[in-house]
């Protein structure tokens, strides 16, 4: 079951993007994202995109990974900018599209160059001070990794149930795939909860 939507898969390497410590790297990603979102200018957008592309190139992220991962985002970005076109006109729409792609590229590059466990360790440290108010950093980190991990699995389930509905000749009935899909997502969540408990990760 190879999923076309695999984000967050680490590609080992030794570029300086790889070697950049995880804390600063995540902080920079957050700052970059904020800058992209807050800067409303048609000139800035291509600059952001160029920066994100340069980053991906320096990090040596495989083109296949970039394309596969952006394709999923691209669909959403196109929908969003179509809406913008209608509300604010073509210039704004183009800006939104370019901004979203730049954000996606930067996020993919960071996740491809950072092992998830490092992200978790960083998160545990960052959330550490909240321990005093009753937050368990390990749990926050676990929830985060689950969210990442659940994505490809859920997409695979969606594709499988859609195929099953088609095989029955029910491809046009939303119920025929939505019902089994929801049932299986819930069942999977249930199983996964059990599995996590069994691995002692909730203790």
């Amino acid at each position: 079951m190879s999923s076309p939507f695999l984000v967050g898969v680490h590609q080992p390497g030794d570029s300086w993007v790889h070697r950049c410590p995880t804390g600063p790297k995540l902080t920079l990603l957050a700052l970059f994202s904020l800058a992209v979102v807050l800067t409303r200018s048609a000139v800035a957008s291509p600059v952001f995109l160029a920066a994100a592309l340069a980053l991906a190139a320096v990090a040596g992220v495989r083109l296949g990974t970039l394309l596969r991962a952006t394709r999923a985002v691209l669909v959403l970005a196109l929908l969003a900018s179509a809406l913008q076109w209608w509300v604010d006109g073509p210039a704004k729409a183009a800006e939104t599209l370019v901004d979203l792609v730049a954000l996606a590229l930067a996020a993919i590059t960071v996740s491809a160059t950072t092992p998830v466990n490092d992200v978790l360790d960083t998160l545990v440290r960052a959330v550490g001070p909240l321990r005093r108010v009753g937050v368990d950093p390990e749990r926050v980190a676990l929830a985060f990794s689950l969210a990442i991990g659940a994505l490809p699995g859920t997409v695979a389930l969606a594709l499988e149930t859609r195929d099953a509905a088609r095989a029955r000749g029910l491809g046009r009935h939303p119920r025929a795939y939505l019902t089994p899909f929801v049932v299986r997502v819930v069942a999977r969540a249930h199983e996964q909860g059990d599995a996590l408990a069994a691995r002692g990760l909730g203790d």
């Binding site: 898969v9 466990n117 599995a195 996590l196 069994a198 691995r199 002692g200």
Partner: protein
């Protein structure tokens, strides 16, 4: 071997609303190294196995692992009892193989460098070293089950409970996983539909309608089970 005990008063499990009894009063003491549990779909095998690490809590009675009450010392018991599920996809939560094993080791190894080294050793031991940095979704079914098992064994449990670990696998992979399980130094509780595998265990329980209906050596229990199934089909 640690003793797995469903205490003398009898352990029962009912649904939360009390409408259905899933496990009739059962008293057991498992001290053999390899115990198999066989029986039809829905007979209560999983319910029984889940009692052993607190995934299911008894409605009455106590379950003891090495003298520890599972209901009161859940975390401690789960450290000692590893659990392997039928569908490894439910058990694997991290993107890559090495990261998933590292997740298992988080509790015992704080230092990330040492954790990575130990995780790679675990993968090496199970013939998965070359897949260390691959996505868990790109493994074959057999490899994925081996990885799930590797994640369980990485924490050095004293008991391994496996709930139909070979049911989704092809013949070669199911042999491979079965052999691995039977060769473990740990105590094993194996739920399975593979009667050949069950017969190789030291003790086999047959479960039917939420009760243990046969309990003996591998060949004895398997014969009793096959007999009962055949008789039911003919009547």
């Amino acid at each position: 071997m640690p003793a797995l005990t469903l205490d003398a008063a009898g352990v029962t499990v009912a649904t939360a609303d009390g409408e259905r009894v899933l496990l009739e009063p059962t008293t057991l003491s498992l001290t053999e190294q390899r115990v198999a549990v066989i029986g039809a779909n829905g007979s209560g095998k999983s319910t029984m196995a889940r009692l052993l690490n607190g995934l299911v809590t008894p409605t009455t009675g106590r379950v003891l692992v090495d003298g520890l009450d599972v209901a009161r010392h859940g975390a401690e018991v789960r450290r000692r009892v590893g659990f392997c599920f039928t569908d490894p996809a439910a058990q694997l939560v991290m993107p890559t193989c090495v990261e998933d094993v590292e997740l298992s080791l988080r509790r015992s190894e704080r230092d990330p460098v040492a954790r990575r080294r130990r995780a790679l050793e675990v993968l090496e031991r199970h013939g998965l070293a070359e897949h260390a940095h691959q996505s868990v979704h790109d493994l074959s079914g057999g490899q994925r089950q081996l990885l799930a098992l590797a994640g369980v064994l990485a924490t050095d449990p004293e008991v391994v409970v496996a709930d139909e670990p070979t049911t989704l696998l092809d013949l070669a992979n199911s042999r491979r996983v079965g052999d691995l399980l039977l060769s473990l130094p740990q105590q094993l509780v194996l739920l399975t539909h593979d009667l050949d595998l069950a017969a190789r265990c030291d003790r086999v329980l047959v479960v039917e309608g939420g009760r243990v209906v046969a309990d003996g050596t591998g060949p004895e229990s398997v014969a009793a089970y096959v007999d009962a199934v055949d008789r039911a089909r003919l009547t």
